[in-house]
């Protein structure tokens, strides 16, 4: 840095100090109504004394989610925005390839009225929809818990079973293989077809891919975010569809393209 640069830097720091002084004056004028913002104290993974959450390196945990206590999250799983996994009095096990979507809550019970211990176990490739509440229950592999469903203590969702959206599964209910239960309280509605069972595992893999994109985005540092912001601004006018119409082929920078594996059938959809 030259002498001029140093001089400008010093002047800049003076002005900043002045600005902070103005800020303090403003704060004191606001008086008791002032709220001073603090650095976020939200903890994504939080241990309770000796209960540490164990999260696989390939799992996606959104920074806004809270994973507390004795929780194990397997490979390829995803815990989305605003989720709460609270394994404080008992353990939560989440298998691999499972997704727990936004604002869902998973909790455990120490003991229920009949006295048996109820950890929450979620198997592999399970899809737990938005806003679901899972309390002390067991969900086996490749099950599907729909949006806003509530699973109460001791309920058991067997393999390939499905809890429809908005259902409330009461205590100690067992949902058998390949059935759909819905309503409040949950009742048997129909059997799942083969295609739907295939769709469940398909949606789990889709979600795993989608989670990887989100994980990459959320793990970015400040520098990277700023760089991409400027890139996005630069390329905003150069819309791919418009350009192809007038016969220009432009390459978007690698940072701004999404992988195609979010949806495996995407290319096929466009073609049809």
């Amino acid at each position: 840095m030259g002498t001029l640069g140093r001089a400008i830097y010093v002047v800049g720091s003076w002005i900043r100090v002045a600005g902070q002084a103005v800020d303090r004056v403003g704060c004191s004028l606001q008086g008791s109504h002032l709220f001073e913002e603090r650095v976020s104290r939200h903890r994504t993974l939080m241990n309770l004394f000796d209960k540490d959450p164990v999260v696989d390196k390939d799992a996606f945990v959104a920074p806004g989610a809270s994973v507390i206590g004795d929780v194990q999250v397997g490979r390829g799983s995803s815990i989305w925005y605003g989720c709460v996994l609270r394994g404080d009095v008992n353990s939560i096990r989440v298998g691999s390839g499972t997704n727990i979507q936004d604002n869902a809550l998973v909790h455990v019970a120490k003991t229920n009225i009949s006295g048996n211990v109820l950890p929450t176990t979620i198997g592999n490739n399970v899809t737990v929809g938005h806003g679901a509440v899972l309390h002390g229950c067991t969900v086996e592999d490749e099950a599907f818990v729909g949006m806003g469903a509530t699973l109460l203590d001791g309920s058991h969702v067997e393999k390939n079973a499905m809890v429809a959206a908005g259902a409330l599964v009461r205590q100690n209910t067992r949902i058998p293989f390949g059935e759909v239960w819905g309503g409040n309280p949950a009742k048997f509605m129909r059997k799942l077809t083969e295609e739907e069972i295939a769709f469940i595992s398909q949606s789990a893999t889709n979600y795993t891919n989608l989670a990887m994109v989100h994980a990459a985005e959320n793990n970015k540092g400040f520098q990277e975010i700023e760089l991409e912001k400027s890139l996005r601004k630069k390329f905003a006018r150069k819309d791919e569809e418009y350009d192809s119409m007038i016969g220009v082929v432009r390459e978007t920078p690698a940072e701004l393209t999404l992988p195609d594996n979010i949806l495996p059938d995407k290319a096929q959809k466009i073609a049809s």
Partner: protein, 256 residues
Amino acid sequence: MASLARLSRKTLATAITSHRHLLRRALATEAVAKVTESPPPALPITESPDRVKWDYRGQRMIIPLGQWLPKIAVDAYVAPNVVLAGQVNVLDGSSVWNGAVLRGDLNKITVGFCSNVQEKCVVHAAWSSPTGLPAETMIERFVTVGAYCLLRSCTIEPECIIGQHSILMEGSLVETHSILEAGSVLAPGRRIPSGELWAGNPARFVRKLTHEETLEIPKLAVAVNDLSKEYFNEYLPYSTVYLEVEKMMKSHGISI
């Protein structure tokens, strides 16, 4: 009572131990069967040392995905702990309240003029919808979406009210001037005709709305909008947290 239960359990235990060999023989076939269908060993969990347990930035409000950058109009109020990801458009005068998640990673999400998405809502868009409608989530103008709602690829036409805790699944359509009661569930591909009140799980027709009630709907949206203005004024355009981060970095000896 408890002591009696304990006593009976103890006697049961002794009874079982005395006949254990008999019991075991009876259960032997079952045990063999169990062993053969043991579940495959769970994948070992490998923790990574560089997973962040505490991000000093907290959750970012705007999460761009690739080229998709969520857009917020200048006079829309979005609470600081809302998550907007991907193709989300929050248009003028609308408000998104605390704890909501709007995740447009597969399709577009639009929150229209003067409509509001209240606390802890999740708005998501599926890749495709079962009906002919586009699979984007469209919330048009003067719509009130209550707290804890879950919307997925649905279309809500102007001037509707969606009650609290209601769930709208893929490809459902709520036409103009209709009200969905609290806690209702709209199955995939359902349509609510205009000027009707629906409720229940699954949602059913209750009654037609009177003219006065349909006039009330935009008034409610405007009232929420007025409230959001107050919130909007409370938040300054730039937070001063960076000062605290600088201070923290200085105290840890990290050069800026």
